[in-house]
């Protein structure tokens, strides 16, 4: 088993909580992991990515080779395209549809979406709206993770467990809210694939 995942977003969007959730699930089940993160200057609203590598064998490089990623999981549509060179031909591009516009020359969202549709395997869901309807846009991350869940080669229950572990400190309310968000993302992703 090997899963190489590029997590993408904008500094401050919190992609590392997605990484932490997947990472914990992997490690709790005896898998090897390496995860390269971006700290520092780019966290001020710049583009950020994380290379998350999970395997049943020891992982060599902290960085995923180009053309070998099994998935790009992005919380921002334009950012999902920035890492296309990393995606393997059979890999999945899974992204939030909601743009994060903090630059003047942000391209037309429709054009971005049409580029995304050129990728063989893709899922686009509006995680912000789904999360907002559930009560807080903050859970958009978990919605995105839910959409990615079927492609992680992990039991869904592993992810649920690591959500419990990670948010447990913050109380039962927060845990069940995030579990709901995860589920909603899973469903939205499946709906997109069937449509």
């Amino acid at each position: 088993m090997k899963k190489d995942i590029i997590l993408a977003g904008v500094g401050g969007q919190g992609i590392l909580s997605i990484a932490a959730t997947i990472g914990m699930a992997a490690v709790d089940h005896g898998l090897y992991l390496k995860q390269a993160e971006v700290h520092g200057m780019s966290q001020r609203g710049g583009d950020v990515q994380s290379h998350l590598r999970i395997s049943d064998k020891e992982v060599a490089s902290d960085l995923i080779p180009q053309g070998r990623a099994d998935m790009i999981l992005s919380v921002e549509p334009m950012e999902s395209l920035r890492y296309l060179p990393y995606l393997s031909p059979e890999g999945w591009l899974i992204t939030n549809a909601k743009p994060f516009i903090n630059i003047p020359e942000y391209p037309d969202v429709e054009v971005i979406l049409s580029e995304i549709r050129k990728v063989k395997n893709h899922i686009v869901i509006d995680a912000d709206t789904i999360a907002k309807e559930m009560g807080s846009v903050k859970a958009a991350n978990m919605v995105m993770l839910g959409a990615a869940a079927p492609f992680l080669e992990m039991d869904y229950s592993w992810l649920e467990q690591s959500v419990r572990n990670l948010f447990g400190r913050k109380g039962e309310e927060v845990v069940s809210f995030n579990l709901d968000a995860l589920k909603a993302g899973l469903e939205a992703g499946e709906k997109y694939r069937k449509a």
């Binding site: 490089s61 902290d62 960085l63 395209l81 054009v111």
Partner: protein
Amino acid sequence: MLLGDEAIAQAAIDAGISGIFAYPGTPSTEITEYVQQSKEAKEKGIRSDWAANEKTAMEASLGMSYAGKRSMVCMKHVGLNVAADAFINSAITGANGGMIVVAADDPSMHSSQNEQDSRFYAKFSFIPVLEPSSQQEAYDMVHYGFDLSEKYKIPVMLRITTRLAHSRSGVVRTTPRPQNEIKLPENLRQFVLLPSIARKQYRELLDNQVFFEKASAEGGFNAYIDGPDKSMGIIACGLAFNYLMENYPDRTVPYPVLKLAQYPMPEDMVRKLYDTCDTLLVLEDGYPIVEEMIKGFLNLGKQVKGRLDGTVPRTGELNPNIVAASLGMENTTGMPVPDLVAGRPPSLCNGCPHIDSFNAMNEALEKWAKGRVFSDIGCYTLGAFKPYEAINTCVDMGASVTMAKGAADAGLHPAVAVIGDSTFTHSGITGLLDCVNDNTPVTIIILDNATTAMTGGQKSSALNRIEEICQGVGVHPDHIRVLKPLRKHHEANEQVCKEEFEYKGVSVIIPRRECIQTLNKRMRQKFAEKKKNEKK
């Protein structure tokens, strides 16, 4: 699951340090932060507060070593420039208690002004270097490094790069060791670098090189891995070893490989590789220091490939694809990035106090030609970009004050310096003293956001004491002006700037408002605590 930085911190705690000394700097910051947040470290009484700058940190670390205890000092690569005087001389004094200097390099300049390679500093000062290829190795090397340091009474450098610093992996800990007792150096002149003593100590340092090299050969971190195809031998330093392995799914390389992780280079191992193989390929993150040494100035021997002959790009961080290309392997790149993808450079946060400061300053400067604002390093450096285009220089910490002074000395008026509160205490104060002593017509704007924001909001070392410091240095109180950078005060702030820019002496303007990020963090913590108390 520890970041490389965290693995180093945990190892330092486990290896029995009594103190860690540092000034923040990406990618080294998380080492010290980990110790600061560690319950274990607190219980063990390990000191870990931030130092004013890297030089004070290095010297304090050396002082702790003098007293016989183990200490670690951490900095980003350019921090070593600031600490260089202490560092180079610490090789001559040697250590007493174990001392490790962590230098975190930033190839590709993810968050830095340059990509200098700290291994040159170690070579320059004749001290051993450890360069881990994984988080686990980083952990193990800290333990080993302290032993090496105490055995040969020498500070040891641990050289890491951004990639390792900020990448996570599993780390297995070893049994913690107790801290050292206080034990002064046997020779109480060891640390007195008067010429007569220094000459002797320097001789000893040079004589010790053979032992350091022997340690490199026997330390267990360098490894000679044979391979059947002798047409090429590969030297892979630090993380480059992983990128090499990544290209061979079964982890066997057809060529002989020297995994290099401890310096000075073990001559026998290098010679063996050189003698057995037709050509050599050197893979190293940073400058081509190993490549250059093996190649020699006249390049008279066998072909050595690497960054110098273009087999590997001359600049920037390595990665698995670059290494694949250097091995002549097929390019695996996926779809290209569509043209529409726009750059997304970092920018000042919404509501950042620096924005209001720049707006006031820019308008006050409007009647003069552009190009008279000397700045420094911090979030405010982002003011160089649109829409502010407020600053014209960023060189090294503290340079704003002294470059403005030099330009003023040349006759430029107004000459304005823009510096953050943390950078001011790091190395702006001495420059201000120069200005005062010369009564130079400059205006120093000290952006006081009550934190070291760029590196993630560490404590600023002169919190609420900036005016006092300026007065103490000798700036006239009438020309120390404190503002509140808010849009509603824009006109008044602009007026103050104008007045001080006109003034023909040293003036200081202090726009004071907390960084939005640290403010939010404090509020969140307060809120969480309130909730907790309510539950009780």
